[in-house]
Symmetry: C2
Subunit: 186 residues, 2 copies
Amino acid sequence: MTTARRSDATRAAILEAARERFASDGYERATIRAIARDAGIDPSMVMRYYGSKEGLFAAASDFELHLPELGALPSRHIGAVLVTHFLDRWERDDVLTGLLRVGVTNAAGVERMQAVFAEQLGPVTRGVCPDPAEAPRRAALVASQILGMALTRYVLRFPPTVEMSRDEIVAWLGPTIQRYLTAPEP
Amino acid sequence: MTTARRSDATRAAILEAARERFASDGYERATIRAIARDAGIDPSMVMRYYGSKEGLFAAASDFELHLPELGALPSRHIGAVLVTHFLDRWERDDVLTGLLRVGVTNAAGVERMQAVFAEQLGPVTRGVCPDPAEAPRRAALVASQILGMALTRYVLRFPPTVEMSRDEIVAWLGPTIQRYLTAPEP
DNA sequence: ACCGTTGGTCAACGCTTGTTGGCAAATATA
DNA sequence: TATATTTGCCAACAAGCGTTGACCAACGGT
């Protein structure tokens, strides 16, 4: 078993600062120097604890969507529940916005983004769509609408999208997600 | 009237190289030196003709969506026509992918992206949705689904999304766009 | 009280970046 | 032909980057 190290607080501070910087600035402009300054330590510590900038990003972009179990609730509410959950998730934790930013410029970000959605959204959809073999495709359609909303609302900040209330977004996007998951093939 | 300058060819070569680099690498990693090398000239020429890297980006990101007139065709086909058009546009011209890349990291990119969709998608929707006052909101919903598909298919390259045929995408997304544009408020 | 291990700072490295000014050749103007 | 303007290359700048290694202070076990 591993005992607690004295440097755990520093490691955590670096990680938190990194998440914020990656989220707000993207991969290239989130410099190790700035992250270290935010964490209140020397840039060389980042190298010692995470090896390189890529290693730091790998550690900082490891996260969970915490998707709810969809099998337990009435299938006609799945769409609304999912949209609500994603809006919650996105507004509570800006790592997601950061991953979106980084995923667009950086190869490692692309891989992480692919993995997160394949591993976490894929299984959840498998239980609720008509043919399990179609699950990945339907999950991808769901991802396209969810990520599109996240992109226009939290990154590009299109004014009409920002002004919409969460209830309005759920009312509009819920049926879309519902159809992508449960409707027969068009 | 302005007479043709001898350097017009160079200016155009710079602009074309810039578009490609911004598209494939994003703002930060698209260096002026690389753009100049692609264009076959010296980096200092880029500065002379476009003032700065930001000026170059402003010039390179000026483009048109070439949206079709929607009023002329049967209103029940609007969704499918729009999706088809956007897929066409995105696959023919990678400046759009580039703008998506840059818009996520760079403030100027965000502004340009906002302007393009507000000025070009907004007016087109005004003629086809029930209440013209709702046009911006409905256009934003359309943008969220269209950009989400572009993001997952052309930037993040989610495998299931990449493997889908254009017809499949139109069949799935068409009704979504159709509903966002023409359905009564949910 | 000693000594190895750990946590941390400091200064510097090699490199790349956007940007600038000087200078040679080509072209236009007279 | 003589002169002014445009077009381009070259070399360099200051700044910022990720990264490294030397060095000091604090701790833990014995």
